[in-house]
Symmetry: C2
Subunit: 439 residues, 2 copies
């Protein structure tokens, strides 16, 4: 190596990253969530975190699972620890079809592709369909991880409003009309029909055929993301969009909320032609999903009362949902409103004019409560009067205490706003990247 | 749903995929390997497969592992089965630094990002750096999975030749010069310095500083892919390129060949600024790598004589390498040549003029032996006189038998060629996608 190395290319006067000139254009949208730094503080035990989307796994049968994972290695270790196919193991793909049948889906196991969590499914679908500048339609707000994938492939997100019955068909029609008028290529509608993350609402049964039909009419594919569908608090399920139009819906499923998120096992059910491309895309992304993890899920489903287990999860979450809704009712100042989820993990809260949830977050964390501010769930900087509260993880007592603390912070913020006018956070439009804290 | 649905957009007269108009431009390069269909046949027990790159795991201590995975769930199940960070668990990142120190790397655990196999690391690095049309320089031949990722991000691959001492510095200089003259943006050199897949050669110690310096001079990053570095048959190791220029090398590591491929645990060691972006990219790809799998690897490293285990693997592979080289010497017809690997999994064979390895493959499979034809390892359709033979998986006896069968097929192919002229396979330039059979 010579001593006198040539000067590195420099962009900007004080740039600390010598690689700055080398990054792909897509990295421009890749910025860490501003709230991420706060999470280090928010994860202290004295802070009640209503920010995260971590499932509460306490009800899992760890003794049984401990024995089963050991058995898999002892009995089939050389298979479990070896490469598999990018398609996924056949036994699990069969079982996934049985699960999807609970929501009215008739599918062939060949059309299921196992992925490293449904986040990978989302990423693969975007990889397959989106060129830079293509439009993706999504609910507003939408899942932060989806916005991260869309941004990674430089797709433009157009948000469509929801009401208490979910995505508004008229809004979808209007968005498609506008995009067509502007000559934009709309690649798909990305939607979470059941127990929406972050909005906490469910697409009504009446609207489902209409949404499906609108997309058909406009030649737009539907990406149906359904991680929470079996977590309806009354055991209710809804017909999957995929069951209404198998050829025009790509369905994403996950074991993260119904079994164990740390195994990272999800799946995509795709029309046949799409499925073949999906397997090829998955090979270039990870070669194959972990074989052992697929076998763990498969054995668990084959030997355990997994429906009973989901019922336990549901009851657990319902108790927490009840605690949160009653605490919101009791503590939140007038002028706040929120959604009433019938399942899933989240309540979406709108605060009075003059309060900026992003600007307020550091003060909330100081008051020992954390939430996810609304802006992270929009690609366009909207959401500063919204926040997502998760009830999935803390105990009901902690949830009540968290909401009590949040209410006090809100009250003082509203006082300030009345006295001095609203405090605006520095707004950086564009999606924040997801993190396990905000899934 | 109305009865009279509008006609779907159609491309081509007899197109069976209604989604054809919707795919991203990158999918054009996404075609299944032509040899994939053959693998269904090649995986029959009567066929000796010298095609796959599956590690031979028979030496693994399954009893110990069985107990350990059970303990992890019993003792720390609620952590193991829960989401983690996209960065990876700290204990494992510490251990990874100890492993990399064996090849001269001094690294901070903060700069390690755990990935779902090093395939994901490769995909993430390409995502970070490559815009469509950017140039990636790679050895010719190169790893098929890398070519798949480069193709997914629409990068153009320029191959540089190797000789028995690895990548040829003059070739690298020339390629960089040509690209610069043509105004192309070269983003990085992708290289496998140790026990190359598929070429079976190792970059000499003398050349390493020169390669590093050339890349520095031209402002080109190095992606160093090193899955086989600890599998040198004499226990020898080589100084990692990363150890020679930490700021300009992104290093990819893997537990797939030194422990268990089915767990899908690999890593990227990146310069600090790159590492931050890498974590963000990984979040949008899979949220986080499986927590349980990371804990399994970490506990195995902490409690097991993993260096002794790698020694066992090495001895196993050396015995198979010996069997293959002596069989090639004994059986292969005159005019064939091959590399002499000192480690790793592969021998690269060149056959006489007139023989096309892709055209010959179906006949080889009929004769109950399979290999990977050379064209899959080039982005430009080259490699039809080459083939990769893997000695990692079959027993030495089976390897000898496989080579004997292959030699007979070659002889008859050469006879045919002498009589009727060469038989050309239909050549489709462009990389074939990887599959676990060809890793």
């Amino acid at each position: 190596m010579t001593e006198n190395r040539p000067a590195k290319p420099q962009t900007g006067r004080h740039n600390l990253d010598p690689h700055l000139d080398r990054y792909a254009a897509r990295t421009a949208g890749m910025t860490a969530s501003e709230i991420r730094a706060l999470f280090a503080v928010a994860s202290r035990p004295e802070v009640v975190s209503l920010a995260g989307g971590m499932p509460n796994l306490a009800a899992l049968p760890l003794d049984t699972l401990s024995a089963q994972v050991g058995e898999i290695i002892a009995e089939e270790g050389l298979v479990a620890l070896q490469y598999g196919s990018a398609h996924g193991i056949p036994a699990l793909r069969d079982q996934i079809c049985e699960i999807m049948a609970l929501e009215g889906i008739k599918a062939h196991p060949d059309d299921v592709v196992v992925t490293v969590g449904s986040q990978m499914g989302l990423d693969m679908v975007t990889r397959l369909f989106c060129d830079p500048g293509d439009v993706v339609i999504a609910e507003g707000p939408s899942y932060v991880g989806a916005l991260g994938s869309f941004s990674a492939y430089q797709a433009n997100v157009v948000h469509v409003a929801m009401d208490e019955h979910g995505l508004v068909p008229e809004g979808l029609r209007e968005a498609l009309h506008q995009a067509e008028k502007a000559g934009q290529r709309v690649k798909f509608l990305y939607t979470i029909p059941n127990f929406h993350n972050p909005a906490g609402v469910t697409l009504s049964v009446q609207r489902r055929p209409e949404i499906v039909e609108i997309c058909r009419e406009h030649g737009v594919l539907i990406i149906e993301d359904n991680p929470y569908g079996l977590l309806g608090f009354d055991g209710q399920t809804y017909p999957a969009l995929r069951s209404l139009d198998p050829d025009n819906v790509v369905y994403l499923g996950s074991f993260s909320k119904t079994f164990a998120s740390g195994l990272r096992v999800g799946w995509v059910l795709a029309p046949h032609a799409v499925r073949e491309k999906l397997v090829l895309a998955a090979e270039s992304a990870t070669l194959c999903p972990p074989t052992f993890n697929q076998m763990i899920v498969s054995r668990y489903l084959a030997t355990h009362d997994w429906k009973g287990q989901i019922k336990k999860f549901r009851e657990n979450y319902r108790e927490r949902r009840d605690a949160m809704l009653s605490a919101l009712q009791q503590y939140l100042p007038p002028g706040c409103s929120w959604t009433n989820p019938d399942g899933g993990f989240y309540v979406w809260v709108t605060v009075p004019e003059g309060v900026d949830t992003k600007a307020m977050l550091p003060r909330a964390v100081t008051a020992r409560v954390a939430y996810a501010s609304g802006t992270g769930f929009y690609a366009d900087g909207f959401g500063s009067r919204q926040m997502r509260l998760s009830y999935c993880y803390p105990t009901p007592e902690r949830i009540r205490e968290g909401v009590r603390r949040l209410a006090a912070v809100l009250e003082s913020e509203m006082d300030l706003s009345r006295t001095f006018g609203s405090v605006k956070a520095r707004t950086i439009p564009g999606p924040e990247t997801p993190s396990p804290d905000t899934v």
